[in-house]
């Protein structure tokens, strides 16, 4: 990427965010590994894994915000891309188990032995190599999104129709992955992982490294999104979001733009899923559940759609709340709270936390109706001065 894109995308808030994530990414593992256990500042290993999970969710939220907040595409099936990336990583981890499985088959994962399969299905080939699996983490979700998007955007399936068919897509995948004969472990999914690149996935050092990597991935994903939304491409995306047909009449090929961000977004979701699986230790079909995808959308809404920092923040806040409430005596009320969150955010806080903060913090732009709708544009740093450079 050329430098001017980098300088343009890093405004003050963005730089602060990157530094914050970098600091968290380094400090949490360090405190976990170096400080003595029981020390006040020592972060226990289970918390490292938990926060690693949140960071992966933050990447997923970014990917949703890129298409929903900036281009108006509400995908209710992004969990599918996340899960596919996760399965690609899970397949690699399964192959790494080798003969240490319960049945001790050096090639076949346990569930295949259990189902009396005598050889590996062709689509499992290559997943013993990390590089191949890592490539598939990007390619499989990306390819699905590309084909799906190519069909949908070309025939101008928009709005709620698109949301519904993305939901149908993830539902169809849910049903498929539940099947034993589909070759991905059916109901139980993939689990009991041992090693990743030769390191024990349970080891503290590995967990710390995975956490650091997740933070790094979050930073990279954030920078890519920033680069996009602060470029002229970002202005076109917002134009598509606000007045799609007007954009067409200006001579923009709207479907290409949508396809580009949708595919990119799916790849990002795939990476998030791939980092999620070794930290959580399991991937199963429930990740495809439509409810999961919708929940991810609400993270973005809570944080502030059309504000990248908000999306990442929303994912962490909502999931922290979920962990906090579901593990306490308030557990039966969590669904009430989550449901109420959906309703209250859409009704009372349509701009989300960061969006609302922004419009309160910088009341410098013009007033009126437009100001309400403009929060998304604002965060992009579409500043006049930069244009003339």
């Amino acid at each position: 990427m050329t430098p001017h894109i980098l300088t343009r995308s890093l405004d003050r808030a963005a730089t602060a965010f990157v530094l914050l994530v970098a600091a968290v990414g380094v400090l949490i593992p360090l405190s976990n590994l170096l400080l003595p256990q029981g020390s006040m500042f020592q972060v226990p290993t289970y918390l490292v894994a938990l926060w690693g999970k949140y960071v992966c969710y933050a990447i997923l939220a970014l990917s949703i915000d890129l298409i929903w907040g900036y281009c108006g595409i509400l995908s209710l099936g992004h969990g599918a891309f996340f899960a596919l990336g996760g399965y690609a990583m899970g397949m690699y981890l399964m192959r790494q188990i080798g003969s240490r499985g319960v049945y001790g088959n050096p090639i076949l994962p346990d569930f295949m032995v259990f189902l009396n399969w005598d050889k590996l299905p062709w689509y499992w080939y290559g997943f013993d190599k990390f590089a191949f699996a890592a490539l598939m983490v990007l390619v499989v979700p990306g390819l699905l999104a590309f084909c799906f998007g190519w069909l949908a955007f070309r025939s101008r399936v928009t709005g709620v129709y698109l949301s519904i068919i993305t939901q149908a897509m993830t539902y169809a995948l849910l049903l498929a992955f539940f099947r034993n004969d589909f070759g991905f472990g059916g109901n139980n999914g993939l689990t009991d992982f041992k090693d990743i690149l030769g390191f024990n996935v349970q080891a503290e050092g590995t967990r710390a490294a995975l956490f650091l990597l997740s933070c790094l991935a979050l930073i990279i994903a954030f920078l890519i999104c920033r680069a996009i939304v602060s470029s002229k491409l970002g202005k076109v995306l917002i134009a598509v979001r606000d007045a799609e047909s007007r954009t067409r009449f200006l001579g923009y090929r709207v479907e290409s733009y949508k396809l580009f961000v949708f595919t990119l977004s799916a790849c990002m979701a795939g990476v998030a899923g791939a980092l999620y699986v070794p930290q959580v230790g399991i991937i199963n079909p429930s990740e495809f559940a439509p409810a999961n995808s919708i929940e991810a959308v609400i993270w973005v809404a809570v944080g502030g759609r059309g504000t990248l920092i908000g999306a990442a923040l929303g994912a962490v806040v909502v999931n922290y709340a979920k962990t906090f409430f579901t593990s306490g005596p308030l557990a039966p009320y969590w669904l009430f709270m989550l449901g109420a969150l959906f309703i209250l955010v859409t009704l009372l806080l349509p701009k989300g936390i960061v969006g609302t903060f922004n419009s309160w913090w910088e009341p410098r732009r013009s007033t009126g109706i437009a100001a309400d709708e403009a929060s998304a544009a604002r965060e992009d740093g579409i500043s006049a001065a930069k244009m003339a450079e």
């Binding site: 470029s231 134009a239 007045a243 047909s245 007007r246 067409r248 437009a370 403009a374 006049a384």
Partner: protein
């Protein structure tokens, strides 16, 4: 373009025998109309006469059931989509002003500029001096220089109309389709808009749809009156406005 005359017609826009119906309602009925290069044409007619639908057909939003629609004598517009038609050089201003409300006036114009519209081109775009000069010039023409950093959504109705005309200017198409440019404007603004369109007409072909007869008169161009999806009368404003049928269906006595 080929100078040798392989064209079906020398007209800039050529519509012949166009039909469109929606669920049995004939919105456009055997419509034939030609627009010569460099011409400005005013289109009048009662509501439902098919004015906007005609623009939809020319810009590729609606596909006609039958009939010929040619651009520049050679290009069959019925086979192209909106993007392609816009790229060819047909720009459109909508009846209801449609600007990108959450973006600044300046960004609206930037988006309209007829430069590289590919995904790659916009991702790696960096402004050039020529581009910002063009935008400055358009801003001056539409009198929005002071409002350049305001959000388009915060403009007044008349200003939005002008911004949309400005976007057409930035787009610099060969043909401008302008749908009701002075609706909701004050008399002064209306007058200025007429001046502006005449100015633009020096090097662009224009088709204007408008109800405001004072404005149409001020333009001083050939007028076509549509009714029930076809041409009712055509000629100078005086000829058309004295036409019996036009008076009956549209102007009123």
């Amino acid at each position: 373009m080929n100078v040798m005359d392989t064209r079906a017609t020398s007209a800039m826009l050529y519509l012949d025998g166009v039909h469109v119906s929606f669920d049995g309602f004939h919105a456009i009925n055997n419509l034939s109309l030609t627009l010569a290069p460099g011409e400005m044409r005013a289109i009048i007619g009662p509501n439902g006469a098919g004015k906007t639908t005609m623009m939809d057909i020319i810009t590729g939003k609606t596909k006609p059931d039958e009939g010929t629609v040619l651009f520049d004598g050679t290009v069959d517009l019925t086979r192209l989509d909106e993007t392609r038609i816009a790229e060819l050089g047909i720009g459109r201003k909508f009846q209801k002003p449609t600007v990108f409300e959450s973006q600044t006036v300046q960004d609206n114009l930037l988006l309209a500029l007829n430069v590289d519209h590919s995904v790659r081109g916009t991702l790696f775009w960096r402004g050039s001096k020529a581009e910002s000069e063009r935008i400055d010039k358009v801003l001056e023409t539409i009198r929005l220089t002071d409002a350049r950093n305001r959000l388009a959504g915060s403009l007044s109705h008349g200003q939005k109309q002008w911004l949309e005309i400005g976007m057409l200017l930035a787009q610099d198409p060969k043909v401008l389709l302008v749908d009701e440019p002075v609706a909701g404007m004050t008399d002064v603004e209306t007058h200025l808009t007429a001046e502006l369109l005449k100015e633009i007409n020096r090097n662009h072909t224009i088709m204007v749809v408008e109800h405001d007869m004072t404005f149409v008169r001020e333009l001083g161009v050939k007028v076509t009156c549509l009714h029930e999806g076809s041409v009712l009368a055509e000629g100078s404003i005086d000829q058309v406005s004295s036409n019996e049928r036009v008076v009956e269906v549209y102007l009123g006595r």
